[in-house]
Structures are given as structure tokens and as C-alpha cells.
């Protein structure tokens, strides 16, 4: 450890334990301990040891973050707490609808939340989201972001949200159970669910992806709100329901324990599971599906606004962001962060699928969030 003064022996042993127990991926371990290709870059600046300027301003002792499952490296929150004295409470959600419902009911108590691209215009229209004061986000450099994954944060010329990650929605399949016949399409996903994967499949508790991917089965648009097309999707979902293992957006535990073999899946979850259990593959349906980008934003009436800005700024730090990517396996749109990432991440087919697969994907449309038929369809499917 002579060449790495940034991680103590004790920390190293701890990281090693975590790695052995499988709670972090090999890449995370290599990245954090400075043993891998990322040593030089990442080891040079453990943000934990660098007191943040925010500390002096007194941002309070806490900040509440509403986000998605398996989407952060907890070490980065610990570093934030060490640097600023503010603890991070993480609330995990299963769908954008759930976040919106909580904000609409008022008094959510959140300081930072992570909306997906297609929801931001609705938050602005409903007056639930705070315009961002860029002067408080020194780590935000608009020019560094790929506009495809940053544009949705700006509505009518006002910046409301800054990019977190982007990714795709495909499915993860445990190939030791596919009998040698690979699944490549959403048609396979549903047909095989009703066949050799019966009782072993999970779908999201989320209207956009569960309905969207059922629509792709028929070749319709992922975002369709056409009543006839939705009726087809509903019929398929209800037909498949008796064959499902569960309806839940937190599918990693069941996939890892072997209870489930097939699930709708987001990029990073696919990456995390594949790193630990190589026979779990991440597949994008050939018909298409969703490409998305998530953002950091501050809700109206956030109780700890200064802490919210400090946390967002901390997470936008390219060093921190790079460690996030190594832990969760979602790509970023920030060229500064990508410059810090090892080539095997930047060439990973799970994070960066082949162009012809990407071309078929669609961004979610705002209409799906508020469309009463889609909401009711999912509720009917769940209660069927």
C-alpha cells in the first residue's frame, strides 16, 4: 500500500471484506482501494479527506434524498457527512408516479429528488419544483454534458434539474435457466414468461416501463396512449400475470437469491448483477423500449435548501460521480467524469449498447405520466 496514502490499512481491510461478501462489485473495490486501473485518478482525490467549503457556511446536520433503488455508492454519502456534518437520509421509490403523488400531497420533507426526464415539465406545471441557482453549484458545467441527456432539465429557458445518469430499460435473464435458447426481444420476454420461465419473472411496479414494454411486444410505441393499443397491452399483461413471480421495482434480491430468473431491468442493476453473477445477462429488447436520463432537482419547500445544494454539488464533483458509476454501473453524460473512468467501463456493452439497439429506443413522454388510462391500466393489472 506504499503507493497509496489515501486509504488507511483499516479502510482497505474493510473494503476487502465488503468485496468478499459481495456487497460491492470488483470494480468498486479496485476503484476505492486504488488497486485497479483507476488507481491513479481516483486515489488522488478521495473527497472524504478534502473539507468542503460548504461546511463553513453551516448547512445543518441533515439532508433528505428521494431516489431509486441501488443507485448510489453509500461511501459517497459518508464522505459528504464527514465533510459537511450533514447526514443523508435516503428514501427509495419504485416509480415516478409515486414521487409525484407524494409531492402533490404536500409536506414530503425532501430536499433533493431524482426525477426522470419525462416528468420535469409536469413538476414545473404543477409548481412542485424549484428553479436551480447555478451559482450554488460550482461543480455544474453545462458544457460538459451531452445535451441529449441534459436538455430535459431546462424548461422554458429555466434550469430546474441537473443530469445524474442516463440508461436504458431492458431485461435481465439468468441464462442458466434459458435452456440454451437466448431471449432477445420483448416478445421472447412475455412468451417465455408464459412458458419455461413461468413463476420466475418479475415486472416493474411502474406504469411507464411495464406498460411500455408490453406495448413493444406488439410493435407499438413505448409511449402510446392510444386506447386500442393500451387494451392489447392490458390483455397481454393480465394473461401473463399468473406466471409472474412478483410485481416489484426492487428485483435484485430475488434475482440474486435465485427465486426469480427473468426481470425487467435498468442498466445499472443489470451491470451490478452481471458483475457478481456472470450468468445473469442484461438484454435490450430488439423491438426497442426506453432510453432515459435522471436528474437531481430540489422540490418546492425543501426544508434544508442549503444542504440540498451542497449535496447536489458534491454528487456533481467528477471524482465523486466516477465513484458512483463504478458502484452502480449507470453511464453518465458528463465528459469530465467519463475522462476519469477506466476504459473497460466506457466500452462495457451493458452501459453502452450497440448503436442499432440504441436507435430503436424512445425517451418517455410526459403524456404517459398524467394519462389517466395508463395509471388505471397498471392499477387494474395489479388488482386483477
Amino acid at each position: 500500500m506504499a503507493d497509496n496514502g489515501y486509504i488507511s490499512k483499516k479502510q482497505f481491510i474493510e473494503e476487502l471484506r465488503r468485496y468478499q461478501k459481495g456487497s460491492v462489485t470488483r470494480r468498486h473495490f479496485l476503484g476505492v482501494t486504488g488497486l485497479g486501473a483507476a488507481t491513479a485518478v481516483l486515489g488522488a482525490a478521495m473527497p472524504a479527506l478534502r473539507p468542503s467549503s460548504a461546511f463553513a457556511q453551516g448547512i445543518g446536520d441533515r439532508v433528505v434524498l428521494a431516489t431509486w433503488p441501488n443507485y448510489h455508492d453509500t461511501a459517497n454519502f459518508d464522505a459528504f457527512t464527514d465533510a459537511t456534518g450533514a447526514f443523508v437520509q435516503v428514501n427509495v421509490f419504485g416509480s415516478n408516479e409515486e414521487m409525484l403523488a407524494k409531492l402533490q400531497a404536500g409536506g414530503s420533507g425532501w430536499d433533493v429528488f431524482v426525477p426522470t426526464n419525462y416528468t420535469i415539465t409536469t413538476y414545473v406545471a404543477e409548481d412542485l419544483i424549484e428553479p436551480l441557482d447555478v451559482s450554488k453549484l460550482s461543480n455544474y458545467d453545462a458544457g460538459a454534458f451531452d445535451p441529449r441527456f441534459a436538455d430535459a432539465g431546462t424548461v422554458d429557458g429555466t434550469l430546474y434539474a441537473v443530469p445524474k445518469n442516463w440508461g436504458t430499460t431492458g431485461f435481465a435473464v439468468n441464462t442458466s435457466h434459458d435452456g440454451g435458447k437466448a431471449l432477445t426481444t420483448w416478445k421472447d420476454f412475455f412468451d417465455r414468461t408464459m412458458d419455461d420461465f413461468s413463476g420466475r419473472t418479475m415486472v416493474h411496479d411502474y406504469q411507464l416501463t411495464t406498460i411500455g414494454n408490453a406495448l413493444k411486444y406488439f410493435g407499438y410505441s413505448f409511449n402510446s396512449v392510444d386506447p386500442k393499443e393500451l387494451a392489447d397491452a392490458e390483455k397481454l399483461l393480465i394473461e401473463a400475470k399468473p406466471h409472474l413471480f412478483a410485481i416489484s421495482s426492487d428485483y435484485q434480491p430475488a434475482m440474486r437469491s435465485g427465486d426469480a430468473w427473468l426481470t425487467m431491468c435498468w442498466t445499472g442493476d443489470g451491470k451490478q448483477m452481471n458483475s457478481d453473477i456472470p450468468e445473469i445477462h442484461y438484454v435490450l429488447g430488439r423491438e426497442g423500449g426506453e432510453i432515459w436520463s435522471d436528474y437531481y432537482a430540489i422540490p418546492k419547500g425543501a426544508p434544508h435548501r442549503e444542504a440540498a445544494y451542497a449535496l447536489i454539488n458534491h454528487m456533481l464533483d467528477p471524482q465523486v460521480n466516477a465513484r458512483e458509476v463504478l458502484a452502480h454501473g449507470y453511464p453518465v453524460a458528463d465528459s469530465r467524469t467519463n475522462a476519469l473512468l477506466p476504459p473497460e467501463i466506457l466500452n462495457d456493452p451493458i452501459l453502452y449498447p450497440a448503436q442499432e439497439l440504441l436507435d430503436a429506443l424512445e425517451f418517455g413522454a410526459a403524456a404517459t405520466l398524467t394519462d389517466p388510462n395508463r395509471a388505471e391500466l397498471l392499477a387494474r393489472f395489479k388488482s386483477a
Binding site: 471484506r17 465488503r18 461478501k21 459481495g22 456487497s23 446536520d61 441533515r62 433528505v64 433503488p69 441501488n70 447526514f87 437520509q89 435516503v90 428514501n91 427509495v92 419504485g94 400531497a105 404536500g106 409536506g107 414530503s108 420533507g109 425532501w110 426492487d250 435484485q252 434480491p253 437469491s257 426544508p303
Partner: protein
């Protein structure tokens, strides 16, 4: 028969044993035991969100159980002397209060208060003098205490009334014959006799409020009670920290019970 009882206890305690066992897990996964450690207890006790949630839960339970016991006892005593349609209406309300599922109470309180606050807040703002931030009503600890008190008050009324009903009318009449004031009769005769029922009502209310998840889920606003904290933690994958919290709460309640038992016994011996 004995074997049967034993297997029911096994059924009751296997999950508890698993919870306690995994609270000493060195690893962070809830499904594989990776060596013995007490680190999660330390972490839970140091986590300000856990401590805050515990504090909120205790405060809400204490305040709502106290309010429910006092107001419920007063109402039970007052109801003794009320007859006719007014009594029937009140009985009906108590019946509805205990019959309605917690989830409906939560939802009804949420939509009612959110709507009322939406009307009141702009009105408050216009009334408020120009300087300073106008007060803004929102869901929080107040609405949570109010909802818990409503439900537990109904329980207290039922329990205390059952006890009042079984009291000898002759006792209070004798007291009145001896020229005691109504208040004197209440304090010196009725109250000591119904005290065990009030205590039982208080304890039941406290337990209910401390353990309630579903009402709090809807009406607690930004406040986090212990069950809400546990629920949101479960969703991001249980770490043994949650097991440690559960084990600590159970051990603490057991200790309280043992202490209470000892104190009671000593009291009886005197």
C-alpha cells in the same frame, strides 16, 4: 397438547430468532450470515435518522395516549349520565371509529386536511402582518397526534365505560348520601376504582400509536416515525441495522414489562 403449544411457540419465535440472529451479522446482507459482530447496534444508535424517528414515535405515542386517556375518561364518565338520541349518536361515532380500517382513517384525514389547509393557508397569509413569514399549516406531527388520539380515544372510552358499568351504583350513592360533592365522589370513589381501566387504555393507546404504520404513512407529512423509517429501509434492501433496531425495541419493552411486574408485586406485598 403440550407438543402443540410448543410448536405454536416455535412458529411465533422462529422469525424473532432470525431477526435477532441477523442483527449480529458482520456482513450487510440480510440473507447470508457472515460472522458475528455488534457493529449494527452501534450504527443504529449513532444514526441521527433512527434516533429522530424513535424520538418522534415516542413523543407521538406519549402525547396521543395521554390525550386519549384524559379526554376518553372524561367522556366515558359524562356519557354515563346522558341518554336519548344524543347518546345514540355518540355511541354510533365510537362504533364507527373503532370499526374503520386504519388505512381509511389515514386516507380520509389526508384528503380532508390537505383540502382544508389549501383553503386556510392563503387566508392566513392575507391576515398576517406584512413583516415576517406567514404561518403555513401542513401535515406533520400535529396531524399525526390528532389522528392517533381520535382512534385511541375511542378505545379508552370503550374500556373505561365497561369498568364504570360494572361499578356498584350503591358506592357512589353512598358517597353522595355522605354529602360528598360530585367532584369529591369522583376523585375519592370512582377514580380509584376505574384507575386500572384507564391504565390499560393508556398502555393500549401507547402501543397502538408506537406501532402504527398505515395512518402515519398518510398523515405524517415530512415526519418520520420508527415504522416509517423501517418501511423505507426495507425498500432499499434490509441491512442488519433494521434487525438491530427491532431487537432493541423488543428487549426494551421486555425489560419495561419485567420492571413493571416487579414494582407491582412489591406494591402488593405492602
Amino acid at each position: 397438547m403440550r407438543f402443540y403449544a410448543l410448536s405454536v411457540y416455535l412458529f411465533l419465535y422462529t422469525p424473532i430468532a432470525i431477526i435477532a440472529l441477523f442483527s449480529f451479522n458482520a456482513g450487510r446482507h440480510a440473507s447470508q450470515f457472515q460472522g458475528f459482530s455488534t457493529q449494527w447496534y452501534g450504527r443504529a444508535l449513532k444514526n441521527p435518522f433512527v434516533m429522530d424517528a424513535l424520538e418522534t414515535s415516542l413523543l407521538v405515542a406519549l402525547v396521543s395516549a395521554t390525550l386519549a386517556s384524559v379526554l376518553g375518561t372524561l367522556a366515558a364518565v359524562g356519557l354515563q349520565g346522558i341518554r336519548g338520541p344524543a347518546r345514540a349518536v355518540f355511541d354510533g361515532i365510537i362504533y364507527v371509529a373503532v370499526m374503520i380500517p386504519g388505512i381509511v382513517i389515514g386516507i380520509a384525514t389526508l384528503i380532508a386536511l390537505v383540502t382544508v389547509f389549501d383553503v386556510l393557508n392563503p387566508w392566513l397569509a392575507t391576515l398576517w402582518p406584512a413583516a415576517g413569514q406567514p404561518p403555513s399549516l401542513s401535515m406533520g406531527i400535529g396531524s399525526l397526534i390528532a389522528a392517533h388520539t381520535m382512534f385511541t380515544m375511542a378505545l379508552v372510552i370503550i374500556i373505561v365505560r365497561a369498568r364504570l358499568g360494572s361499578l356498584e351504583q350503591a358506592l357512589t350513592e353512598a358517597s353522595a348520601d355522605l354529602y360528598a360533592t360530585p367532584f369529591g365522589t369522583f376523585r375519592q370513589v370512582t377514580l380509584p376504582l376505574i384507575a386500572p381501566a384507564i391504565l390499560a387504555g393508556f398502555l393500549l393507546s401507547f402501543t397502538f400509536s408506537f406501532d402504527d404504520f398505515i395512518i402515519a404513512f398518510f398523515v405524517a407529512g415530512s415526519e418520520t416515525t420508527l415504522p416509517i423509517y423501517v418501511f423505507s429501509s426495507i425498500r432499499r434492501g434490509v441491512t442488519p441495522e433494521i434487525n438491530a433496531i427491532g431487537t432493541m425495541v423488543m428487549v426494551a419493552s421486555l425489560l419495561l414489562l419485567i420492571v413493571a411486574q416487579l414494582v407491582l408485586r412489591r406494591g402488593q406485598r405492602r
